[in-house]
Amino acid sequence: MKLFTAFKLACFGLWSNRYRVLSAMMGVVIGMFAVIVLTAIAIGVKDTLMKQMGSLGAEQILVMPGRVLDTANGQKDLLSGLTSVPSTLTYEDAKAVEDVPDVKTVTPQLETVNFVEYEDKTVQSAIVGTTDQYSRVQHAKLAEGRFFTKEEQLAESKVVVVGNNIHDSLLGKNELPEAEEGSSTNVAEPMSWWKRLLNKILGEKVSAEETSLVGQSITINEESFEVIGVLAPNATLGSSTDNNVVMPIETALATTDMKNLTKMIVEASSLDAVDEVDGAVFNALSANHSEIDFSVVKQDQMLGALGKVTSILQVMLVGITATALLISGTGIMNVMVMSVRERTREIGIRKALGATTIEIMMQFFFETLLLCIIGGAVGIGLGYAFIEVWNGNIEIFALVLPMWAVKLALYTSVAIGSLVGIYPALKAASMKPSKALRFE
């Protein structure tokens, strides 16, 4: 059997029917694109969540308002905490936790939403009151300026560090050219990805007059605050600091009506002490509360719960992609069966001229296989390009494409091609030349 001849004939057959082949190939292209992109999303989301939760550090313990229930297998059901009562955690609770043995630091956080004014600009922002440890604990890097010190915190200094998005909005950097002149009130929302992409293409509009607020005064709740630093962009899933204005917790308590903590990060003195500190923090807080309306969660518990969530996500994605591939495979088989029918006379001619059953079968089998492999390669290429464009322009989370996903997609396209190619190939090969030649 001349395999190479059959392969050449298959290539030629595909080229001769290229327009029909293109439409059939779309199924595989979309299927493989889905495999690549959905896998990259699943892995990317998992990595980002794990990184964020992992960024707490193994020695850190999160104290949250609301009661996080335990599941039957002993894991923390993090979602149950979301439906709990409003926060009753206070700065006094944080101070009580500071006295727990083996606690290294406690970083409480107060949060509210308020308007921030600078000259004629007013921007809605999340006001965060916290300690000097915030930037370290939140991994919030500074783009410029500095963070406030312990002394400034205790002295209730009216200093703030602003998030990147707030900084740019107050300076008008986030406004698109067509924004109305008269409008002076902006709502500070993270710029949508397409606007960022557009800005990248057109060149971001940067104010020529002012490029930094450091050293300037802004107004919050009719109180004047000095901007001492700007946080670097930190757009990550759910915990971006881009829209925050961070001030010392003592200042926040004195100048705003914030009283209850949104969370508290407790750092144990060593990894070995985490379990002990976890229990002691719980006991210390329980002494201050009449009921258990807070939760103390260790990093490993959080990672365990997240791992389960992301595993469910991955299983779901596998199901979706398998369905997409099944549909595209069936589509290709139908197209190839139709192709065999349309080319009945051609098959008859080839057989009359000396083509063997195996040669006809191999030609049609290779046609389907090639169609799936080429479609798979195009789908993988498009998926890769999509991931590159996403990662280059969208900061919310990075898509991660592992090599195994590329191999899986390629092997799957070969497997689909092999499976769905058998039936049309057998159908073509089994034709009687005398009948096929008479086919109208």
Binding site: L9, E346, R350, A352, L353, G354, A355, S434, L437
Partner: protein, 219 residues
């Protein structure tokens, strides 16, 4: 070249059995030009399919170039068809998405000859048929006469011992018919054995011997 002995063939349609060939005997010598005539439904096409090994006989014997076709496996029949038989059909049976050159090359694609020789052979034949300038054209750009000349070139490309033609001028006008028949004369003069199946008396008269198929028997 051809030796048929008491060949019978029937087709079945549901419960109905239709006996198309009822004991055909035929001997055709090497280099002979034979025409088989008959009315519609007389079994001409079945005869051509059996002679061309496109179908198998029920009973009887068929020897082609000294080889017992009726005893051959399917694979050997395919090889024999490729190497020993050239077909010329009424409706040309060219593959529409292949060029003239590729259509003529097709029997060699499935044969055993070397590529260099294959190309040279195709080009020589196209030159002989006056089609060299059209070698890259698709069949739909050709006239009926040109298409049939391509089909004849394809039938000759493997240098077969037997040319089987099924109503070769059935789709052509009078003038083109004459040029195609002249081509058959030329091929015959070069030593090929030709069997033409036709219902056209004028076409049959170009052959050296005319046979008539009536009710499944040659008379």
């Amino acid at each position: 070249m051809i030796d048929l002995k008491d060949v019978r063939k029937h087709y079945r349609s549901g419960n109905l059995k239709s006996e198309v060939l009822r004991g055909v005997n035929l001997q055709v010598k090497q280099g002979e030009y034979v025409a088989i005539m008959g009315k519609s439904g007389s079994g001409k096409s079945t005869m051509l399919n059996l002679l061309g090994t496109l179908d198998v006989l029920d009973t009887g014997e068929y020897k082609l170039a000294g080889k017992s076709v009726h005893k051959m496996s399917r694979g050997k029949r395919v090889r024999l068809r490729n190497e020993e038989i050239g077909f010329v059909f009424q409706h040309f049976q060219l593959i529409p998405n292949l060029s003239v050159f590729q259509n003529v090359l097709l029997p060699l694609t499935y044969g055993r000859k070397r590529l260099g020789k294959k190309k040279a052979r195709v080009l020589a034949l196209l030159d002989e048929m006056g089609l060299l300038d059209k070698k890259n054209q698709k069949p739909d750009r050709l006239s009926g006469g040109e298409k049939q000349r391509v089909a004849i070139a394809r039938a000759l490309v493997n240098e077969p011992g037997l040319i089987l033609a099924d109503e070769p001028t059935g789709s052509l006008d009078e003038e083109t018919t004459e040029s195609i028949l002249s081509l058959f004369d030329r091929v015959h003069e070069q030593g090929a054995t030709i069997v033409v199946i036709t219902h056209d008396q004028e076409v049959a008269e170009r052959a050296g011997r005319i046979l008539r198929l009536q009710n499944g028997v040659l008379v």
